[in-house]
Amino acid sequence: MQLTGAQMVCEVLLREGVDTVFGIPGGAILPLYQTMPEYPKLRHILVRHEQGASMGADGYYRSSGRVGVCMATSGPGATNLVTGLACAYMDSSAVVAITGQVARAAIGKDAFQEIDITGVTLPITKHNYLVMHAADIPRVLREAFHLASTGRPGPILVDIPKDVFTEVAEFVYPETIEMPGFKPTLEGHPTQIKKAARLINEAKRPVIMAGHGVTLSRAFDELRELAEKAQIPVITTLLGISTFPESHILSVGMPGMHGVAYASLALDRADVVISLGARFDDRVTGRVSTFIPNAKIIHIDIDPAVIGQNVFTHVPIVGDVKRVLHMLNREVKKATHPEWLEEIEQLRRDHPSLRLRDKPKLTQQFIIKQLSDITKGKAIIVTGVGQHQMWAAQHYTFTEPNSFITSGGLGAMGFEVPAAMGAKVANPDKMVWSICGDGGFQMTMCDLATIVENKINVKFIVMENGFLGMVRQWQHIFYKDTFYATMYSANPDFVKLAEAFGLHAQRVTDKAQVAAAIQEAIDYDGPALISCIVDPEENVYPMIPPGESVKELMEEPVPAQEAAWSR
């Protein structure tokens, strides 16, 4: 079959099961867009900024496990994808980006809209390609989808020059993929698994630390089986949130910088830590030299390079978390740890990190708690980065697997709008709430137009505190209250703004209005936004200062009056 390069791209996308692509056309990729109407099964969502395309594809993948696809033209189109690709790279998200490139003869000549995007994205993609012959497109795209979604997932960029899209060649879809340099280890080594089981069976104070790998390998049932069989409390990292139902008695919550004190303390006191698809990020460990000093670490991860990268590992197991747990669970004996669980309960009582104080002003914590109650912990929650993200992690009680989507590794503000869009496109039957900071929201709010245009029913809560709240918090705690360049003194009227885009919009200024506003947004059949005027002086607690240990953990300061009452 003789096809053009552009037709080959569409053919392969369909064969890979792609139904949606996010993108914006432009000069170099126009031949592909000319061909796309021939493939009506491919839904193209025209975003307003390419970052929305890459982050939309990321949200699509994270919420569904199906590879997200984005497209952009050469030069500025491609460079606008970069933050979203970096985000996908840091959080192991399977995204395939297809970019147009200037014609082959113009490459290297500083042509109009020419950027060496494979060079630019080298350190933030799992792999990338510049395709110089149309005949290579089927193989390259097949490899791209395979690479993106196999092993530790990650973004792949495929750069295709304009005249390669129009070049005609024989379409040969490769039946097999030959990549001698890419053979991820999926099965755990049996000896190592036996060693791990022995450690777990002998443990007196075991803790599971579940990370993103549990979600990526869909090991929710296996995790639960391990926890219940050996009665091991489960700590979830930021990206591990929603891998284990938070309503479960063995759920302990998030450790680390803004984690709950009892989770960090439980880690600190554990004798065996079973890390499942987590990478001991500095936000979890704090000062590495004093991190979990007494524990033997069993580190299960599909990426050998994260094992031993940050902490010393006693039993490394390379493999897919689901498969390793499947084997491990057979070796682990039934056990109970009543004293250990009681000790953690005591820690919970002594350090009630998430107790909501009765405050007169409207706080983000209160709104998130209300949202959690009204949606019964079953919505897909997408957040940006900063205070609202930490409060969402803390105060929303996640009960459904894979329902928390957030930019963890890169910490990219602005993720909340396009990622929620992608998540809703992938899950039309689920309720998707995007919790936004007023800072991040303004970085990507242009895609509200995309959301309305494509009837993507996302509900937004914009936490309007008029500050870059987390930065303000750091200025308060570490920079002597130097509140410089963190205040948004001229925020737009978000209600009018949302209405101008065509969303249903409400403003909430008082605690009493919150529940009704959330309900109204849910009842409205279409995208809706609630702008919440919240207390700008609230800080996220607990907090372990960067590079410190759990001993330096700061709980929320108790106001003098309240302290006097409790005396």
């Binding site: 494979t118 060079g119 080298l122 350190p123 799992k126 792999h127 510049l130 690479l147 990549m179 001698p180 340099g181 890419f182 280890t185 755990g188 080594h189 000896t191 190592q192 990426d303 050998p304 390079a305 031993g308 990268q309 590992t313 006693h314 490394p316 197991i317 390379v318 493999g319």
Partner: protein, 189 residues
């Protein structure tokens, strides 16, 4: 555990594709690894090249280097040859100032080092020398007195002694890496 800094010789079999050197070099740079030499050339297989790195760092660092190399899709195999019976060679070309008075003295040195003179001009010589780094270093040191004009060194290439097949190299390389490590990484390599 005391971190002992030393140099490791790694040999990587890589796919001969455009940009592969860039990918490797970029990884070394962004992860802050220190390479003291790098040599690349074709291997006995058509579409594969072999790279020899000399990496400075403790065992933990070198272990990370190997794992990060493996993450690059174009890298097929990495072996750590540091503690094996290995033959090392490096080639250097040295342009040294030579007058009619000093030429014969330089030629004597060249003989002693079993080096070759590959170009002669009125006031200089180009010397080609092959050997391990120490040998080249000492010849270079001796030639300093005559006036070094230009030095070009290829970086180390290394190969296992004996009739080791490629598979053998890989196997022994893996064993070496394992033996060097405090932990059991057998399933990785």
């Amino acid at each position: 555990m005391v971190a002992v800094k030393n140099s490791h010789t790694l040999v990587a079999l890589v796919q001969d594709k455009p940009g592969v050197l860039n990918r490797v070099a970029s990884m070394f740079r962004r992860r802050g690894f220190n390479i003291s030499s790098l040599a690349v050339g074709h291997s006995e297989q058509e579409d594969l090249s072999r790279m020899t790195f000399v990496v400075e760092g403790d065992d933990g660092t070198v272990e990370q280097v190997i794992k990060q190399l493996y993450k690059l899709v174009d890298i097929v195999r990495v072996s750590d040859l540091s503690t094996e019976a290995v033959v090392y060679r490096e080639l250097a070309m040295v342009r040294v100032r030579a007058t009619s008075q000093t030429r014969s003295e330089i030629m004597q040195l060249v003989d002693i080092f079993r080096a070759n003179i590959i170009d002669v001009s009125a006031d200089s010589l180009i010397i080609e020398v092959t050997g391990d780094e120490d040998k080249i270093d000492s010849l270079q040191e001796l030639l300093k007195g005559f006036g070094l004009m230009e030095v070009m060194r290829t970086g180390r290439v290394a190969m296992l002694r004996g009739a080791a097949s490629r598979q053998e190299v890989a196997r022994r390389g893996a064993e070496t890496t394992r033996a060097n490590k405090p932990q059991d990484y057998e399933q990785i390599l």
